[in-house]
Point group: C2
Chain length 401, copies 2
């Protein structure tokens, strides 16, 4: 009886905030002690501001043990086994907003207004702990190192080398560059070089957008206090911002010069992909009216959609609409993710969700999307995973029509 | 024999730069004399930078008379008659980049780094001249007043009243708000009020995007000198930025509170509309995983796509792809434009382009898209235009299958 190899391209892990202390370089522990109560208070404040405290508490109630898999090895193994997941890619921020690394070195990086030195200290503390977690089950865990690419690029390059040497197998860099140069800038070339050399995929993970514009600054001034619509704007724009670096990398010729560079966009949905590719390919093709803009194409030997298919993958908690669009998005491009332990993901109902979403889809496509693509992209050792898959993987027969 | 009423929702007009002097308030003429040679030199520099000087010169060669319709009443009438166009909506920047109003008060407004007082002076000079041009053929010309909405909102409101009183029938406001509050902010309420009261449609016209990010600052520093890909990024993002204000207006409840407010997005293509509406409606619908974001919907009594259909129109030089998508975009939403006198528009081949693009389309849809929608939106007096249409309009028979 054949079973499905499932690899979640989007999971999260993080220590309870106070436990990051021991992973920090000693010189930053005093600042940590001062910042910790503020970080905890801000998290609670944000929950209140968006009126979601009760919703979050309800979702978490009775799940203390399983949610502690956000940092506990044994519990995490149990949870993933129960969900039928053999391998996973591990981002920061375990239980939503409650397990963020210190000094804003989280999914939302870079943290504006925080000294880059402190952000780096927080990122390194998380990377050290994550390396330990991954080493406890290296064949199952692909850890994502936090790399603050915007500041000193040599420092970023050194962290990539540290990550590789310590068993972390990919990195994430900031989605938003703020006042720093965007990702078509040649200053980032050493970073692309080292990621290509060491086969370290680069992630952009959804979350950051222009929050200050949407919600106003905090605390609100008299005028901003009456701002409405911020959250609707946020959820409407967040996928634009997480996919935006691709536009810069493609047109900047980064994939032209680095044919083996791997980039993944995670948790930003995949529904935007067909329109995105159609727009970029249209702009790449010569057409009437574009002549007045000069030659902006000849440095690229491939069409944007060809770089996309070769170099880029999309990690997302797939919805039915995306699975129906799989041929336009690219069957080889999509990598399913459970988003454990976040409430918007499929855990703890992954099995039911698979049945719902993949009804009528050919088994080869399911294999690729829920595990095969990620195995290849991240270099999971599928032979080593096979005995585990035979125990915990969902039976393939249930997907046959 | 029935003829088609054509109204171009996107035309441009502007004086040769030196002739704006007399329309300026006298106190700004000294600054104008200093700025003029710089403005002219910058225009030439930009043409060289993007290697398009020859292309532009070639396109303009032999067309001096017809291009002078950018500012000359008689010539403009001849050109539009020749193109079969009975009515038009008139934006600034006549011959591309060569007829911009003073002090950066152009399609690219706001001009960063220019004193808002000077930008207002430039905008008012253009508005005064444009009012004269429109008064020479008021039934055919809907002038677009430049309104610098980001600075003092009361000043913006006063300019809307001046424009209405002087025969201008719509306004345009900046696409990009920079460091100012975005358009969901309550500070703009007086502007929405006056535009609703006076039935003045508000435009966002394509052009602005994050140019400094794409191209680097000018002159380039050593690093920026090797930036590539800027123009590809620009053409890939410019439609996002021109449609972006809609996201803020819709979620901000502006159309909920101002049910008669009219907004048009011009020359940003229409291909993005179906995906845009599908995304906003999806975000508006309650769905699993969005609970943790709280209630961000209940202040809107309609779906985003319903506000869109009621309050928003798209002015664009339609391509075949857009006409094929007309039911997803909305047949009642699309307003064709010739973009005269810009080289990317349909002039001087409007007739051929119509034949190409509208082959096989039902005549009622053609009527709506090339004129009917704009007539209603801008309040053109179709009875007054009828005799002209009978002379110059394309014969409807040629579109019948």
């Amino acid at each position: 009886m054949s079973r499905l190899m499932m690899i979640s391209s989007d999971c999260h892990a993080g220590l309870p905030p106070e436990r990051y202390r021991e992973y920090l370089d000693p010189e930053f522990r005093e600042a940590f002690d001062q910042a910790l109560p503020i970080q905890v208070a801000n998290t609670r404040e944000a929950e209140k501001m968006f009126l979601v405290q009760e919703i979050n508490e309800e979702w978490r109630r009775g799940r203390d043990a399983e949610l502690s898999g956000a940092w506990d090895h044994d519990e995490r193994i149990k949870v993933l086994d129960g969900d039928g997941i053999a391998g996973e890619v591990i981002f920061p921020d375990g239980i939503t907003e409650m397990n963020s690394p210190p000094f804003g070195a989280s999914l939302g990086l870079p943290a504006r207004g925080v000294d880059p030195k402190l952000q780096w200290a927080g990122a390194r503390a998380h990377n050290r702990w994550l390396a330990e977690l991954c080493q406890m089950a290296p064949e199952r865990r692909c850890g994502v190192a936090l790399v603050l690419a915007l500041y000193d690029v040599d420092e970023a390059v050194a962290e990539v080398r540290w990550a590789k040497a310590n068993g972390l197998r990919s990195i994430m860099i900031p989605v938003m560059w703020g006042e720093y140069p965007a990702y078509h800038h040649p200053r980032y070339t050493p970073l692309w070089n080292v990621c290509e050399e060491l086969d370290m995929p680069i992630h952009f993970h959804s979350g950051p957008a222009e929050q200050d514009t949407y919600f106003g600054t905090w605390p609100p001034n008299e005028e901003d206090g009456t701002l409405v619509g911020g959250m609707g704007i946020y959820v409407s724009e967040v996928a634009f911002f997480v996919s935006r670096p691709l536009t810069f990398l493609i047109w900047g010729g980064v994939f032209e010069r680095h044919p083996n560079l791997k980039v993944a966009v995670t948790e930003g949905t995949a529904v935007w992909v067909p329109e995105f590719l159609s727009l970029l390919d249209h702009r790449y093709g010569a057409h009437r009216g574009s002549e007045k803009l000069g030659d902006y194409r000849s440095h690229l030997s491939l069409k944007p959609s060809e770089y996309f298919a070769r170099n880029i993958r999309i990690g997302t908690n797939l919805k039915i609409a995306e699975i129906e669009q799989r041929h336009e998005i690219g069957v080889g491009t999509m990598m399913w993710g459970s988003d454990y332990p976040h409430p918007e993901g499929s855990w703890p109902e992954t099995s039911e969700r698979l049945d719902e979403n993949f009804k009528g889809v050919p088994i080869e496509d399911i294999r690729a999307i829920v595990g095969g693509n990620a195995a290849e992209f991240y270099g999971f050792d599928t032979e080593k995973l096979a005995p585990l898959v035979d125990q915990i993987g969902p039976e393939e027969d249930r997907f046959r029509a």
